[in-house]
């Protein structure tokens, strides 16, 4: 299943990044993370004496967490929104559906097309965030160096973006197969992107009590939800309805 899905994903990723609009999304994400890091790192240093190093660390985890966990979900959600309805609108869906791809291969191909750029951008974004925060701390407050990310925050930033992106992508693939126009899918994608934002803000309130157990428990639930949602997408995928829907 993976081989043909990979053929699809490789070709489609190449096509996706020929779009100037899509290329702009990672640039915007990197820019926002850079602004967040450059703004908040020095801004809060004067209050460290008042609130304590631990609270400063929590605040940095909250602010940078929003940037490195939430924002990378934007790109895969937007790519996935276009995945099926976009092909239909551009009339390229019929030859693809008539090829020997199974439903699973086709959906996995679409999932990888949206997920792989999302993961690459998420990790690049994390590296940018870490570099700017710690680069600035090295010069202005070396004692606070490596206060962010802690090992826990690092693991969180590595595990959650792919899991959140996979959730958003599976959801968007289902939606993309059920709407008639690309713009409808994009409108819904905007709403879907709010979900990881909600999760991150929930995490903000839990961040004082977040621990390894909670992290792995959350990751496991999200992982199971991803698999369940992919299976649902597979069950709902119906070539007849896709072709006959006006």
């Amino acid at each position: 299943m993976l081989r043909k899905a990979w053929i699809m994903a490789k070709t489609e990723i190449r096509m996706v990044f020929k779009s100037r609009q899509v290329k702009m999304i990672p640039v915007m994400i990197f820019l926002m993370t850079s602004v967040f890091a450059a703004l908040f790192t020095p801004l809060m240093i004067p209050i460290v004496a008042e609130v304590g190093v631990e609270f400063y660390s929590i605040m940095m985890a909250m602010l940078m967490g929003t940037s490195v966990v939430m924002m990378p979900a934007m790109l895969p959600a937007m790519i996935a929104a276009d995945s099926i309805v976009g092909e239909k609108e551009r009339h390229t869906l019929v030859p693809l559906l008539a090829s020997p791809l199974t439903d699973g291969e086709l959906l996995l191909g679409k999932l990888l097309t949206a997920l792989i750029p999302g993961i690459i951008v998420a990790y690049a974004n994390l590296v940018i965030g870490i570099a700017i925060v710690n680069g600035m701390l090295l010069f202005i407050a070396p004692t606070l160096l490596w206060i962010w990310p802690s090992l826990l925050a690092m693991v969180q930033a590595l595990i959650f973006p792919p899991l959140l992106a996979a959730f958003a992508v599976c959801l968007m693939i289902i939606i993309s197969g059920r709407v008639s126009k690309v713009y409808e899918a994009y409108q819904i994608a905007g709403f879907v992107i709010i979900m990881p934002m909600f999760l991150v803000f929930t995490e903000l309130f839990l961040s004082t009590s977040i621990n390894w157990l909670l992290l792995f428990f959350g990751a496991a639930i999200l992982g199971i939800a991803d698999i369940g949602l992919f299976q649902l997408a597979r069950n709902l995928f119906n070539r007849d309805k896709l072709i006959s829907r006006v």
């Binding site: 070709t11 190449r14 096509m15 779009s19 551009r90 008539a98 090829s99 791809l101 070539r239 006959s244």
Partner: protein, 313 residues
């Protein structure tokens, strides 16, 4: 000949609308089968069911000994499809070669064969000089050629073509027809093609089927259908001198022709039992002092058969 496409009691409904109804049809291996009918007759829907894009409401469809419902992937591996509006079905962000490579890989064409196959198809379809261009820059005719190349990239044993020569110029249309004939020759490939061009079907197809309002109304070779629907024969006669109206009245007076009319100064008459009646008609005209330059039979073409079959339904 082995049957390679078999439709049994095929019915396809979209809600209350019956697009295809109780179609029974067998297409033989190596045959070029033409599917003819007016707009919205059910031609494209039949192709979509046979290519696993649509699910039949009732009946069975077997393509290359695989049932479309039970083994859709096996069916898809065997077929090539040039879909309806095929010219618009390319990825504009890929080049001509990349479009073909993509589908070649999806169809498991070995890497070393794929490049040769692409070169061969592009050469034949006169697209070699546009191999690195995006189909987005192509005219409709060029896009149609690329669609044809994509349908044939994996050298499929069964090819479904929905209006293959639409948008092509007459020279390329002829080349494509010759190519199809060449491919189908020696039972190599089976072609199932929908077309509006009756002359194309006449020259290309071993057999044709007429579909109207979702029902298959006639199947047979163009020659068989002509014989079936033309028991009477039509002749046209041209005079060297003399009044065509006078000639018409002479032919009418013999009471040998079923009908007589004048078309472009020619007398057109329909007769049965030609061997006995035609010499008598000619003799009557000559005896009346009329000089005949030409007498020839008007052979009905597939268009006449089509109009008779579909027009009557």
């Amino acid at each position: 000949m082995t049957t390679t496409i078999e439709l049994k009691g095929l019915t396809k409904q979209f809600g209350e609308i019956v697009a295809v109804q109780d179609v029974d049809l067998e297409v033989r291996k190596g045959e070029v089968f033409g599917f003819l009918g007016p707009n919205a007759a059910g031609k494209s829907t039949t192709v979509k069911v046979a290519t696993t894009l649509l699910v039949p409401t009732r009946g069975t469809v077997v393509v290359g000994s695989h049932d479309v419902l039970e083994e859709p992937e096996s069916v898809r591996a065997l077929i090539g499809l040039l879909p309806e509006d095929g010219a618009d079905t390319h990825y504009d962000r890929l080049t001509t070669v990349e479009n073909l490579e993509y589908f070649g890989r999806l169809y498991d064409v070995p890497k070393e064969t794929l490049q040769n196959r692409i070169d061969e198809l592009l050469e034949f379809l006169e697209l070699s000089d546009r191999r690195d261009d995006s189909p987005g820059t192509f005219s409709t005719g060029l896009k149609q050629k690329l669609s044809l190349a994509r349908a044939l990239i994996h050298n499929p044993p069964i090819v479904f073509l929905d209006e293959p020569t639409s948008n092509l110029d007459p020279i390329m249309s002829r080349k494509v027809r010759e190519f199809i004939q060449q491919m189908a020759g020696g039972s190599k490939q089976t072609f199932f093609m929908c077309t509006h061009l009756l002359s194309e079907a006449e020259h290309l197809c071993d057999r044709v089927g007429f579909i109207s309002h979702g029902r298959l109304v006639e199947v047979g070779s163009p020659a068989d259908l002509r014989r079936k629907f033309w028991t009477q024969r039509t002749f046209e006669l041209q005079l060297a001198t003399g009044d065509p109206a006078k000639a018409k009245s002479i032919v009418e007076a013999t009471s040998l022709a079923t009908s007589v009319r004048i078309e472009n100064k020619r007398i057109v008459f329909v007769v049965e039992k030609v061997e006995r009646k035609n010499p008598q008609i000619v003799r009557a005209l000559v005896e009346a002092g009329l000089a005949i330059v030409e007498l020839r039979e008007r052979i009905p073409d597939l268009e006449d058969v089509y109009l008779k079959v579909i027009g009557g339904k």
